[in-house]
Amino acid sequence: MSLKLGVPSKGRLMEKTFSWFEKRGITLSRSGSDREYAGKVEGIEGVSLILLSAGEIPRELAAGRIHLGVTGIDLVHEKLPRWEQQVEEISKLGFGKADLIIATPACWVDVDTLDDLDAAAAAYRKTHGHRLRIATKYHRLVREFLTDAGVADYTLVDSQGATEGTVMNETAEAIADITSSGETLRANHLKILTDGLVLQSQATLWRSRVAKYGAVEKSVLTELLDRLG
């Protein structure tokens, strides 16, 4: 038996997670070839490393198949309803910072706030006969945010990538997406609504409240949390 730690399986998120643990005396590495999704843990006994896509980590935590996992706040909040009851936040890791925001074309000089967006959506629907489309992959978070703000006459359209391009391509009128520097937004002639911040995200270490913790896992968890301080 061992304590299972899920970590993103590729890219900067994996590297930065590895170096975050390294600084705390725990060496994570991919075993074997670059293509193999098995991992090795040195510096602590009883922890096994599981490499997963960042998007799958919330689900694995909620299913209790891993005890700990590293993934973004955005993904946990989007994918797990009542996430507080399923996972516990152990530590924010200080990288992978990004904001989930609502953005409109920069040329919409009459739209600065959600209030404006709502008014523009009403007029848009009358003119075009369909609702103002907002492209996003964060359906639940965005819908709850807009419902709470009382924005009506919009519809969410699914966009799993290159979301900033949807406005130019006229498959959406506005977007809700993750941005870190805002550069991609500017390059695509979009601007963020002044009150359009849905969520501030960063890479975070979570503990599953659902996973089974035997005597071994409990003691390893205590030691690990102690080391991570």
Binding site: C107, L146, G150, E173
Partner: protein, 362 residues
Amino acid sequence: MANRSQIQARAAMMRVRFEAAGAQVVDPPLLQPADTLLDLYGEDIRARAYVTSDALRGEQMLRPDFTLPVVQMHMSEGAEPARYTYSGEVFRRQEHDPDRSNEYIQVGYEVFDRNDPAWADAEVFSLFALQLRGLPLRAATGDIGILTAAVQGLRTTDRRKDALMRHLWRPRRFRTLLDRFAGRKPGPEGRDALLEAKDPLAIDVPMIGKRRASEIEARIEALREDRDTPPISDYELVGLETLLNVRETMPFALEQLRDVAVDLPQITPALDRLEARVASLQARGVDVERLDFEAAYGRTSMEYYDGFVFGFYAEGRPDLPPIATGGRYDALTRQLGNGAEIPAVGGVLRPDLMLEVEEDAQ
């Protein structure tokens, strides 16, 4: 806990009672085209209904309620006047509360009758009260039509009234709009400069997207018009606030609302309708002296109702959803009627919750 067959037996019994009251049984399909529902409720319905799809018919929803298909059916083929009853499952997606059912049985009764709306309101309410007799429930009533009349009669532009009407069912956004139209809330930073600019679209970003320059100009024009419109007066605001706070037994509520009508005379016809309803309820044996009336009731949850609204709640079980709800939805028949319309009122009961409340009482 009551089991499924007990719930179905109770549902069947109640449906028979509605049949005895003159209703014809209808049985709309479980799968409903998503378009109509989305059109009516907007994106919010996706959080409440299960969506499925096939390549041929596109998106379908597991029926989240009966009212919509029953109205559609009546508007396309129904004879007048008509009374319908039904019982069957509805499906509600639950994302927050695991204790709420995502599938349950509703029994309903709907009246399409031009003859005497006050009498039809009273008919539905008193039949529901009869079905629920003996249970420890509290009834709440309201009337969306009074607030609607108050807004539509405000001394301000149609544009403002339309904006308020659009958000009648979203109290917070309604409040924000009202504050802005009353001049209590400044616009966003830079808004004045934009409105004073000679050519607001003289900017160094390209025009992109399907919302064209002419639409942006039209909105700026609308914002300019709004800036030059005098604020909604204090007495009208106070009137609206007093109206929304009325919470009394029916006869006292009517009295208080008549006082509000001194400042907001536009609500008088709606109050006459309320008075006629009180008389009809009384004539059908409802104890109106002890029946609660809240002017703001039904504003957050019952979005297609536009007149009389009611609900029955379990005393001492605030965790339970309402045991029965209903109301008048004349505007919905207009929206789905392709030019036709008919006054309509109805509601639904939850046999599963009735059995639960009965168990508690024993």
